[in-house]
């Protein structure tokens, strides 16, 4: 590198930002996370719309089937609800889930 190039380079290096700039990186990542959140939100909203539309379209078929099986499912659903409640109550008891010393 010639002295002229070194002089030129030294002048150009006055524009050099710091090697590490946490504030800049944080600002970038904040925008990235915001964009990711919006994408997730858009995806879930789309999924909900599609699901709702599918349910609306299939409801004439689903409704009679659900009415037909609901009588048979009722005892099983009740048993599941009782089981889940019992499990939740047992977990809430003192001393449950603690690791012995």
């Amino acid at each position: 590198m010639t002295p002229a190039d070194e002089r030129l380079r030294a002048l150009l290096e006055m524009d050099e930002p710091p090697a590490r700039d946490p504030a800049f990186s944080a600002a970038v990542m904040e925008q990235v996370m915001r964009r990711r959140w919006l994408q997730d939100l858009g995806f879930l909203a789309g999924l909900s719309l599609v699901g709702g539309a599918a349910l609306w379209g299939l409801w004439p078929v689903l409704e009679p089937a659900l009415i037909a099986i609901s009588g048979r499912l009722a005892p099983a659903a009740a048993a599941l609800a009782v089981g889940a409640s019992a499990l939740a109550a047992l977990r809430a008891l003192p001393g449950q889930g603690e690791v012995p010393a």
Partner: protein, 179 residues
């Protein structure tokens, strides 16, 4: 080589959706991208805005970055296109001008005169020529890497660098024909 390996691993992780990996890529390359944009557009505040937009766009496109590609060149390529788009928006530049005047650090003595002359000469270069100078003379990019980043033919990059260098040296009052 080791550093390139780190970049490759970080890119692979970012492509799999890791924001932590992308954050590390931002940390590692923000200096190169911001330095390039500052030299390419001469407006520090605008350059930092464009650098943020660059990384945001890069996050959306990182899935398309092929394995083994220069990450630095890829970031600078996106930055260059952002810069060209910003140039077309003259009103935005005018809004930023006042802020830049306040933010730009002043330099003292003989260096100040050189710096003013250099800024004037840089402003007189065509955007692609200025980008070539910013990458090859100030940021240690090879001609091939600059060609990849800017999407310009290798011969064009070489001639832009040679002519840009001659003009900048001439503005500093240096008579140097060697390229």
């Amino acid at each position: 080589m080791i550093l390139e390996g780190v970049d490759e691993a970080l890119v692979a992780a970012a492509q799999a959706g890791s924001t932590d990996a992308f954050s590390r890529l931002v940390d590692r390359h923000q200096q190169a991208v911001r330095g390039f944009l500052r030299r390419a557009c001469g407006d520090w505040a605008l350059a930092d805005d464009l650098a943020q937009e660059t990384f945001l766009a890069a996050w959306g496109r990182i899935g398309g970055l092929r394995a083994g590609a220069s990450v630095r060149a890829w970031f600078c390529g996106i930055a260059y296109r952002k810069h060209l788009n910003a140039r077309r928006s003259a009103s935005r530049s005018r809004l930023r001008e006042a802020a830049w005047q306040a933010d730009h650090p002043s330099v003292a003595g003989a260096a100040a005169e050189d710096r003013i002359a250099l800024d004037k000469a840089l402003a007189g270069l065509a955007p692609d020529q200025r980008a070539c100078v910013a990458l090859c003379l100030a940021a240690d990019f090879s001609h091939a890497e600059a060609s990849e980043a800017l999407g310009l033919p290798l011969g064009t990059v070489k001639s832009h660098v040679a002519r840009g260098r001659a003009r900048l040296l001439s503005s500093l009052g240096v008579d140097d024909d060697a390229c």
